[in-house]
């Protein structure tokens, strides 16, 4: 798969994310596909941060390791990333950073632009090297700064111009991208996983979100805040995660489709609320953006180690659904599904994402939002006869949910075990039927389980099993192995619970060798599959150093020759 991997490196506070976002936007607008990997340290200033943009003329959905163009905003970046450079690779750096290496494009930045516009000049140089149309870059720059800082636009434009002019005389340091497969003018959106979750939630009818800031989840509420005025949402920053989840339960009880977003440590505080939502049968969507733990762990890195935590969080027994979107577009669609599922089955529904996917910008086709349905919370009071029973026993386990104050009916629910009308009871016979009623809802949730996505032949020699954000890396690794003559397939789970073994057990059994590719140390999905099906996945590709799984990592760990 042909692609070009550009890495921008520098210190926190140097503005490399801004350069990276503008570059990605220009590429997306030029009709290219991108996969962004942001790697940053938990530092206020300093440290070594990178923003990598893998760009392809055709669809790509995994990060890559080998770098084709390094944009070094400091000298440390040159030293750290020279070894990762491909054979025809380039380093774009200030003339003072690298003098000896012939792979360096030594840019006299101080001649090209005043100090505060050096980043714009760097953006200009990398775009010129890649052959990105100057008009597109200029347009992207104008959108970013034109309205907010009109006074800087003239200088920005000049920095861009001098960068392009400087590059024009250097054909030897040009690495033009192949023409984009889609005609320019094809409109695609640039969006990361968290923005897609926020957008999906809003499109499904989200009305209330509560949160407490925690990396890497905070960009979900921030995206919601940005839409709140136009879409009529309430977004509340609470004093902690306990308050956040309980506010959301209150809002949902009152009739507002609700969401909370957090990361592992914050979710630990929310756990009692999960069980309250289950007991009171209140719909709730909970997004857990994973990062390496225990405790504060590596707060700005990525991992997939909270599967078992989320699967078992909350005391007692109750049904739930757990999703793990594999890409940015899926983040949107799964966020939508989560709201419908939560409302239909009056249960907590989880979306597991991670830092890599949360921060990873991609080019996505615009969603046809006009045709999308949204959740209508609560049942029709006209169809309910008095006396109203909030927790009426039904065959499906789902009782008609009326909203308090919206009709003449009294809506009572209770965290204690309760009778059908929602009042506390110590009747142990009632207890038994209520446990069974709640658990019956799992069959309904299970009937809607998303089948795992399978790609490959019917009887492959090797099958790679993945969940969540590792989907793209596994599919690309499988394709690379097929190219080398090893019949390899991939099986991706974007829903982790409830599992429906009839959807995938045959695939596991038909493969010669099965390997679970997971961003954790203990093989949490593999263990869950064994528990549910008895099938033992013998091979593991595990990553828990805080970095996302790449196709190259999978190939190395499988000890198969690299692609």
């Amino acid at each position: 798969m042909h692609s070009t991997n550009i890495l921008i490196g520098g210190e926190a506070g140097q503005g490399l994310a801004t350069v990276g976002e503008l570059l990605s936007r220009a590429l997306v607008r030029g009709g290219y596909f991108v996969v962004v990997t942001q790697s940053y340290e938990s530092r206020i200033r300093g440290g070594h941060n990178t923003f990598a943009v893998r760009v392809g003329a055709e669809a790509i959905d995994a990060p890559a390791e080998e770098i084709d163009v390094v944009v070094a905003l400091n000298d440390e970046t040159v030293l750290l990333h020279l070894p990762e450079l491909s054979s025809s690779g380039l380093v774009i750096a200030d003339a003072s950073f690298c003098d000896a290496d012939e792979r360096c494009v030594r840019v006299p930045f101080k001649d090209l632009a005043p100090k505060q516009y050096v980043n714009t000049a760097a953006l200009g140089v990398v775009c010129a090297v890649l052959g990105v149309d100057r008009g597109i870059v200029s347009g992207v720059l104008e959108e970013a700064f034109g309205r907010k800082h009109p006074e800087t636009m003239e200088e920005n434009r000049r920095a861009l111009e001098s960068a392009f002019a400087w590059c024009a005389g250097r054909p030897e340091s040009s690495r033009p991208l192949p023409p984009a497969a889609s005609p320019s003018g094809t409109s695609r959106l640039m969006m990361n996983g968290n923005e897609a979750i926020a957008l999906g939630a809003v499109s499904a009818g989200l009305r209330f979100a509560a949160f407490y800031p925690m990396t890497p989840s905070t960009t979900i509420p921030l995206a919601l805040v940005g839409m709140a005025g136009r879409m009529g949402l309430v977004v509340e920053q609470a004093e902690d995660e306990i308050a956040a989840i309980n506010m959301a339960i209150g809002a949902s009880y009152a009739g507002a489709p609700s969401l909370v977003a957090t990361s592992g440590g914050g979710f630990a505080l929310m756990v009692e609320g999960v069980s309250l939502a289950a007991m009171t049968e209140t719909p709730l969507v909970i997004v857990v953006a994973q990062r390496p733990a225990p405790a504060t762990g590596l707060p700005t890195r990525t991992e997939q180690a909270d599967l078992e935590f989320v699967l078992h969080a909350g005391h007692g027994e109750f049904p739930r659904a757990v999703f793990a979107p594999g890409g940015v577009e899926e983040c949107f669609h799964i966020a939508r599904k989560a709201f419908f599922l939560a409302e239909r089955h009056q249960s907590p529904v989880f979306i597991l994402t991670d830092q890599f996917l949360a921060d990873s910008y991609r080019a996505v086709a615009p969603f046809d939002v006009a045709s999308l349905e949204w959740v209508r919370p609560g049942a029709d009071p006209a169809a309910v006869s008095a006396p109203y029973l909030r927790h009426a026993l039904t065959e499906s386990g789902v009782s008609p949910r009326l909203l308090p104050g919206a009709s003449d009916h009294l809506v009572v629910t209770d965290s204690d075990e309760h009778t059908e009308d929602g009042h506390l009871t110590e009747d142990l016979g009632v207890r038994k039927v209520m446990v069974e009623k709640r658990l019956r809802k799992l069959a309904g949730i299970r009937a809607e389980t998303i089948p795992p996505e399978y790609e490959g032949s019917d009887r492959p020699e090797l099958l790679l099993v993945t969940w969540g954000s590792t989907r793209g890396a596994a599919r690309e690794a499988a394709a690379a192995l097929r190219g080398k003559g090893l019949d390899t397939a991939s099986l991706h789970f974007s829903q982790i619970w409830p599992l429906a073994p009839e959807q995938f057990l045959g695939r596991l059994k038909n493969a010669g060798l099965v390997a679970a590719v997971e961003g954790n140390a203990t093989g949490q999905l593999a263990r869950l599959i064994r528990r549910e099906t008895g099938f033992e996945i013998s091979e593991r590709v595990a990553r828990y150093d805080g970095l996302p799984i790449t196709p190259q990592y999978i190939l190395r760990e499988l000890s198969v020759e690299g692609a």
């Binding site: 530092r43 300093g46 800031p213 920053q237 004093e239 440590g265």
Partner: protein, 307 residues
């Protein structure tokens, strides 16, 4: 006063227990406050620190600063962990397993870790009556995660989650009065401080260490990055916070209020607000609204000192 300050500086030890070389932003007055607190407490101290700027900037190897026993805990529980350590220490001393060395136990957190997520644990620790100090380093927002508002963010300040725009002029609620909440527990010692007044700050820390029960110190810690200030203006703006009456320096000793840095002729609040980027959008009407509130709060505080 000036000549007295020159003399006061000679009485301060040169020994640092919060060593230089941390990774804070230039001009961080919060890191300075931590250094002054550590200086005042000396070597015989155990610190429990909540997640936040001060944890991030002082602990990544090799830029570590702590020369005293130190534990980083979760976000909400610095007061609980500090008092757990204190309780264990007293029990071990009682049983003769440890010598009584008068060790001081210090819990610390930012405004978020103190007045938002950590308030319950802090209130419980006060109520249980532990002999410990809790210091809140208040930079008036969640600076560590990118300037989100906290309940310590002042009215009118723009943050990423209380942005100033056409409809709203930044933060819409008044700053939570943490020192008064602490004082309402009836603990032996409560004080406010600011690293722009180092001797006042250190004196209060010394008093807190000898309080014989829970002590609370609330330190206004100027954050040039989050407040939109040139880094060399941190000390100056801290002084303005006090001189305008926005952040009065006082102490509550066994229930008795005393203003420690008196400002007979207060400057208008605009002097404090105008230089800061986070208040740039404020209209004269809102500045006036803030002035009215600051004056009223000052009068209330004055009335308490007269009791």
């Amino acid at each position: 006063m000036e000549s007295l300050n020159v003399y006061a500086s000679r009485l301060v030890t040169k020994r640092e227990h919060f060593a230089p070389g941390h990774r804070a932003c230039q001009g961080c007055a919060e890191a300075l406050a931590v250094r002054l607190v550590a200086k005042a407490l000396g070597q015989n101290v155990v610190v429990a620190s909540a997640t936040g700027c001060m944890e991030i900037i002082s602990t990544p190897f090799p830029f570590t600063n702590w020369r005293v026993p130190w534990i980083h805990v979760a976000f909400e529980n610095a007061a609980a962990v500090a008092t757990g350590a204190e309780g264990a220490y007293r029990a071990l001393v009682r049983k003769g397993a440890l010598p009584e060395k008068g060790t001081v136990f210090l819990g610390m957190g930012g405004d978020g870790g103190t007045s938002d997520i950590g308030l319950q644990a802090l209130s419980g620790a006060f109520e249980r009556g532990h002999r410990f100090i809790y210091v809140c380093y208040d930079n008036e927002a969640y600076m560590n995660t990118g300037v989100q508002r906290s309940s310590g963010t002042p009215f009118g300040a723009s943050t990423t989650t209380s942005p100033a725009g056409k409809l709203k002029a930044g933060q819409v609620t008044w700053k939570k009065n943490m020192p008064e909440i602490a004082a309402a527990h009836g603990i032996p010692y409560v004080a406010t401080a600011c690293s722009s007044y180092p001797f006042d700050l250190m004196k209060k820390v010394e008093k807190a260490a000898k309080a014989g029960g829970p002590a609370y110190i609330h330190i206004l810690s100027v954050c040039p990055t989050g407040w939109g200030l040139p880094s060399e203006k941190a000390i100056w703006i801290g002084r303005l916070a006090v001189e305008t009456g926005v952040f009065p320096l006082y102490e509550v000793e066994q229930g008795r209020y005393r203003i420690t840095v008196d400002v007979p002729a207060q400057r208008p609040v605009g002097d404090y607000l105008k230089p800061q980027g986070r208040f740039r959008h404020l209209t004269p009407e809102i500045v006036e609204q803030i002035q009215t509130r600051v004056t009223a709060e000052w009068e209330k505080l004055r009335a308490k000192t007269a009791l």
